[in-house]
């Protein structure tokens, strides 16, 4: 992969230089070897601001190959600003094929969602993570949170869930819902809705998480146990909707509420645009 790409600016393949990619791959290997453990890496300056997916982009850049087919989603959609821009960025600096179809993609970079179409073995998902430390809201010190991970002292996380129930009567955390990976490391699944948490468990695809600003990456390898934390008398549950998707009629996908006029009319549609389209075509 040392040959330069064919764009007029002559960037290296996938934008990052080969040494940076090697550093990232080394960190990724460690992350895969220790599921859920946050591996520090030297985050590079990217041509977009922190918070727009710099961690995910660096991970994707380090593992993308010429034969890959890339899909990028933002809030489940393939046609939102962030998704379009990142997809175009990689098309330009790598020349690889891009797609909006989950089934056709070999590499999927995502913010907020795991596609509804089940992932298969051999696929890789890359998540853009704003805050990799699940304990951060309760413990500000990085020194202390690292110790808590080292000694597996995770009582603190339940303090947050306890507060949820005490204040709202149920566990109100609905995204970035903490999980225990491989019965060892407490991890933040990035801001995916808890609706997607069950898809992390025993996933046949490799799941990689990159946080550019926080300079951490971690991984959930295929077929790893992932457990969402809960109380015995308040078990983990996912969001449910009374409506079906207004466009495709699906009853079991994650729905977005969309306001359609100033009078407050609204409709519920699938957040996963690719899935929604397939459902519609399947019916037609």
């Amino acid at each position: 992969m040392t040959e330069a790409c064919h764009s007029q600016w002559q960037y290296n393949f996938a934008f990052l230089d080969e040494n940076t990619k090697r550093m990232l791959r080394r960190a990724l290997l460690k992350a895969v070897a220790i599921p859920g453990y946050q591996v520090p890496f030297g985050s590079r300056e990217m041509p977009l601001p922190y918070g727009w997916g710099t961690g995910g982009i660096q991970l994707t850049a380090s593992i993308i190959g010429q034969d890959d087919v890339l899909k990028v989603i933002d809030q489940g959609a393939d046609d939102t600003t962030n998704a379009v821009n990142i997809r175009r960025f990689f098309a330009r600096v790598t020349g690889v094929a891009t797609t909006s179809s989950t089934a056709a993609a070999s590499l999927i970079q995502s913010r907020h969602r795991i596609p509804e179409t089940p992932l298969r073995s051999g696929q890789i998902m890359v998540f853009q993570v704003p805050e990799p430390e699940a304990l951060r809201t309760l413990e500000a010190s990085e020194v202390e949170t690292r110790k808590l991970h080292a000694h597996q002292e995770y009582g603190l996380m339940h303090v947050k869930l306890y507060e949820d129930i005490a204040r709202f009567g149920h566990i109100a955390t609905s995204y970035d819902y903490p999980v225990m990976v491989n019965q060892r490391y407490l991890s933040s699944p990035s801001p995916i809705p808890k609706f997607d948490n069950p898809k992390l468990h025993m996933s046949p695809a490799l799941l990689l998480f990159g946080a550019g600003r926080e300079k951490r990456l971690y991984a959930i390898p295929p077929h790893t146990r992932v457990e969402s934390l809960a109380f015995d008398d308040h078990p983990f549950s996912v969001q449910r909707w009374e409506q079906a998707c207004a466009l495709c009629g699906s009853h079991d996908s994650y729905l977005d509420e969309i306001i359609t006029d100033d009078a407050g009319a609204r409709m519920f549609v699938c957040s996963d645009t690719d899935y929604c389209q397939q459902q519609q075509e399947g019916k037609a």
Partner: protein
């Protein structure tokens, strides 16, 4: 009274400039309250922090017997093991409740934290236990969902006690727990503490500069000056018949009333 909970011999923590604490020897038994008194800078808090493993000792030994009867040498204990003991067998009550409490979560969560750290995962039971402990420290059950920021200083201090005692530790370290409280609140707090110690049979090591607190609570007292124990013995004995000039000064300055 078979074996001591804690036996300390020749313990020293040297900051390198003559400050610290040196040549500390004592034993502490179940259900006993030991007060460490002395002026500011006499090494009381250093001693407490060294005993609790928050500072590393430079010499001597501290042996702790846990509930199961096995003995641990605290000066050489691995951190993982020390943290396990700190979670399950000890409590630490700080002078400022803000240092010992989580101010941004409710009182109930504060009390339940140690239980959850030990693996309790039933919300209903956690809440019931927390409510019972609030009542034990004379805080109304209705305040369970209030944050400690909404509590008075005395209530915060009592909440800290509840948070520490909920796992029924064998040994509780207290660093001037009455420091910021006014006299009437202090009296009620001490009263409560004495009852809890009596009921639960825990051992307490309390640092204070107030001999009045020692008189109310402690069976035995250590008097410290410049990092060394200048007098040790039964509290009543020290108060009635202080031997060391510094103890005499302390007693004469406090017990005028």
């Amino acid at each position: 009274m078979s074996q001591p909970v804690l036996s300390v011999s020749g313990l020293a923590k040297d900051y390198g400039n003559g400050q610290g604490c040196f040549d500390i020897d004592f034993e502490l038994y179940e259900g006993e309250v030991l007060c460490i008194v002395g002026e500011s800078g006499s090494g009381k808090s250093t001693l407490l922090a060294t005993l609790a493993g928050r500072l590393s000792a430079d010499a001597g030994s501290v042996r702790f017997r846990d509930r199961a009867g096995s003995s641990h040498e605290l000066t050489t204990l691995a951190e993982a093991e020390r943290r396990r003991l700190a979670r399950s067998e000890w409590g630490f009550v700080t002078q400022h409740a803000r240092d010992g409490l989580r101010m941004n979560v409710s009182a109930g969560a504060n009390v339940s934290e140690r239980l959850m750290a030990l693996g309790q995962r039933h919300y209903g039971q956690l809440r019931e236990t927390a409510a019972q402990w609030l009542e034990k420290v004379e805080i109304s059950r209705e305040r369970l969902d209030d944050r400690p920021t909404a509590f008075s200083g005395g209530m915060q201090q009592r909440l800290q006690i509840a948070r520490n005692l909920v796992t029924q530790p064998r040994l509780v370290f207290m660093d001037e727990p009455t420091g910021g409280l006014d006299v009437s609140v202090q009296a009620r707090f001490l009263d409560l503490l004495r009852r809890l110690v009596h009921d639960t049979g825990i051992a307490v090591i309390m640092v204070t500069h107030d001999l009045g607190v020692a008189r109310l609570l402690a069976q035995r007292t250590l008097v410290m000056q410049q990092g060394r124990v200048v007098e040790a013995g039964l509290t009543d004995q020290i108060l009635d018949d202080p031997q060391h000039p510094y103890s005499q000064l302390l007693v004469s300055s406090i017990l005028q009333a």
